[in-house]
Symmetry: C2
Subunit: 322 residues, 2 copies
C-alpha cells in the first residue's frame, strides 16, 4: 500500500481571521478530517502531522496569566500539551468521518519527541517568537528571573524568542510505523514534536520549536513513506511570491528546488522551510513531494493541482521537467 505523511499547516486548526474558540477549532479540524479521509479512501496509508503555533501560544498566554497561582511549565511540556489538544480534535473528527463513510480505520494520536543536536547553532541564536507580549520592564524582569531571551517583536512590545533547532530523527518512529503498517491512521509529530537532546542514555527536553515540515520530512523518510504532502493556505509554491513577478510552479526537480532556494526565490517566509523539507525528503529516498491547499488535498496528492517536486531521476523522464 502507498504511504503518505500529510503535514497540516497551523491554519488547519485555526482558520485565518477566525475567532479562537472551540467551535472554530472543531470546524477546522473537521474540514481537515474530510480531506484526510479522502486520501485514505484513495488507498493510502496515512500519517498526519500538524503545526501547533497558535495553540501553544495560547497555552503560554494562559500560563502567564495564572503565574501567580500556578507554576508555569517549560515550553517542552506545553508542546506536549498542545499535541494532546490538537491530536484529540483531529482524532475525533477523522474517526467521525471514517464512520460516516463506512470506512473501518482506527485512528490514534502518538505523543512524539524529535531528536535535535545539543550543539545545534540555533541554541546560541534563538529567533522564534512565542507566547504573550510584554513591556520592556516586564521583559527585563523575565530575563532576570527565568533566563528568557526577550526581543522587540515587529508587531510592538517584547516577546520571548526560543531556538528552532533542526530535527534529525523521531523518537517514536518504530511505534508509528508499526501502527501505520497495521492500517491505523496515526497522528504524530504535532508541532514538529517536542525537541529532545540525547545526553548519554537520557532524552532531555529542550525549550525550542521544531519546524513541523522538517519534522514531517524526517518522519516520512523514517516510516518509508513514498510521498510527503504539505498542506497550507496557498494554492501553489510561487517564485517571487508577493511581487509583480510572482508565478506558480506546477512541477520541479529537487535540484531546481535547491537552486531556487539558494537564490532566495521563496523569500524568508514560511515557504522556504517547506521547500527545504521537500529537498530533504527526496534526498533521503522519498519519491514525491506535493505542496498545496488543504481544501484540494486529494487532487494535490495526485499531482493535479498544487506543486509537485520530484527526484531528479524521475523528473529527467519529462523533457519540460525544469
Amino acid at each position: 500500500m502507498r504511504r503518505v505523511v500529510v503535514a497540516l499547516g497551523g491554519n488547519a486548526l485555526l482558520r485565518r481571521g477566525a475567532p479562537d474558540t472551540y467551535e472554530e477549532a472543531y470546524r477546522a479540524a473537521r474540514a481537515a478530517a474530510e480531506r484526510v479521509a479522502d486520501i485514505a479512501a484513495d488507498g493510502w496509508e496515512v500519517v498526519v502531522t500538524h503545526g501547533n503555533g497558535p495553540q501553544v501560544g495560547r497555552i503560554l498566554i494562559q500560563q502567564e496569566a495564572a503565574s501567580g497561582q500556578v507554576h508555569p511549565m517549560p515550553l517542552d511540556v506545553c508542546g506536549a500539551e498542545s499535541q494532546g489538544q490538537i491530536g484529540y480534535l483531529l482524532q475525533v473528527t477523522i474517526g467521525d468521518v471514517f464512520y460516516e463513510r463506512g470506512m473501518e480505520r482506527p485512528v490514534a494520536t502518538v505523543l512524539t519527541l524529535t531528536r535535535v543536536r545539543p550543539d545545534d547553532p540555533a541554541f546560541e541564536d534563538p529567533t522564534k517568537f512565542i507566547g504573550p507580549y510584554f513591556t520592556a520592564e516586564q521583559a527585563e524582569r523575565l530575563t532576570a528571573e527565568r533566563g528568557w531571551v526577550m526581543r522587540p517583536d515587529p508587531h510592538g512590545g517584547y516577546r520571548r524568542v526560543v531556538p528552532s533547532p533542526r530535527p534529525y530523527s523521531v523518537v517514536e518512529t518504530p511505534v508509528i510505523e508499526r501502527l501505520v503498517a497495521d492500517g491505523v491512521v496515526v497522528i504524530a509529530a504535532g508541532g514538529g514534536g517536542v525537541p529532545v537532546i540525547e545526553e548519554g542514555p537520557r532524552l532531555i527536553g529542550r525549550e525550542g520549536v521544531v519546524d513541523k515540515d522538517l519534522a514531517a520530512a524526517i518522519l516520512a523518510h523514517e516510516v518509508r513513506a513514498s510521498a510527503l504532502l504539505i498542506l497550507t493556505d496557498v494554492e501553489q509554491v510561487q517564485i517571487d511570491f508577493g511581487t509583480p513577478a510572482a508565478r506558480g510552479i506546477d512541477r520541479m526537480s529537487a535540484s531546481r528546488a535547491r537552486e531556487l532556494l539558494a537564490a532566495g526565490a521563496f523569500g524568508a517566509g514560511s515557504m522556504a522551510p517547506k521547500i527545504e523539507a521537500a529537498i530533504g525528503f527526496l534526498a533521503s529516498g522519498g519519491r514525491r513531494v506535493h505542496i498545496g491547499e488543504l481544501d484540494h488535498a486529494p487532487a494535490v496528492l495526485r499531482g493535479d493541482g498544487g506543486t509537485t517536486i520530484l527526484p531528479d531521476d524521475a523528473m529527467a523522464e519529462e523533457p519540460d521537467g525544469r
Copy 2:
C-alpha cells in the same frame, strides 16, 4: 508473557505537600518510572495509566485566569492536554530508566478516549469538583454565561461540579493492545481517558471526569491483562480506614470485597472506586488485582505487600482465604 495494567495515583506526579513545579513533577515521574521499569524487568508487558486531577485542575485555573484573552476550551479538550503533559513526563523518565539499565523497550503515549453512556445517571447529577474557586457572585455569572453547575466547596467558595460517568469501553484498545503485544510500554487512559458518547457513528466528547481506576480496569480487561496493579499512597486496603478499628487486608476474594464494599467498609473516599475497579476486573476474567504503595510496586505485584484480591475460585484453594 504476563501482562499488567499499572494504575498510578494522582500523587504519582505530584507528591502530597510538594510545590507544583516542573522540577517536582519531573522528580515524581522519575520515581514512578523506576518502579515501572522494575516491573518490566520482572518480565511483564506493561500498560501504564495515571490520574490527572491536579494537572487538569491547573489547566483550568490557567484558562480562567486568561479568559479575557483566550477562549477557554471545554473540559474534554483540557483532559486531552493533560494526557499530553503527563504522558510526556512519564514517557521520558521511563525511557531514561530503561536506557540506564540497558533495557531496550520502546515507550509510547497513546491519547485515549473512554466510552461512557449518554444516559449515565451521572450526567443528571454532577458531583465532581474541578478547577478554580469562585465567589457566590462569580458562580452565578458562570452558571448564566456558560451553563456550569456550581456548588459550595467543602473548603469554602464555589466550584464547578461535573459528572463522573462510568466507563464501559476504551476507544483505543486495539491500538494499545497491538503495541503492548509488540513489547512497547504504553502510557494510556490518562485521567481515565476523555469521556465520549457514541451518537450514531460519531464520538462526541463530554465534559466530565472518568474515574481512572475504573477506566484502568476496563482497559485491563480489554487488553487481556492478567493483573491490575493499583498504586496509591497507602500501604494496604484498610477496613474502617481512619477509625480506631482500622485494619489492613493482605488478601481477599472478590466476593469478600463486594460484601465489604456494600457494607461501606471502605468509606466514601478514594478507596471505594479502587475496590469497585478490582471487582469489575475480576468479574470480567482478570486473575489478580493488587493495591498498594507506589514505592513498593514490584513487591506488591508479587503479592508480597499491599492487598491482593483474587477471583473466588483462586481464593478457594486457600483455607484462610476469607
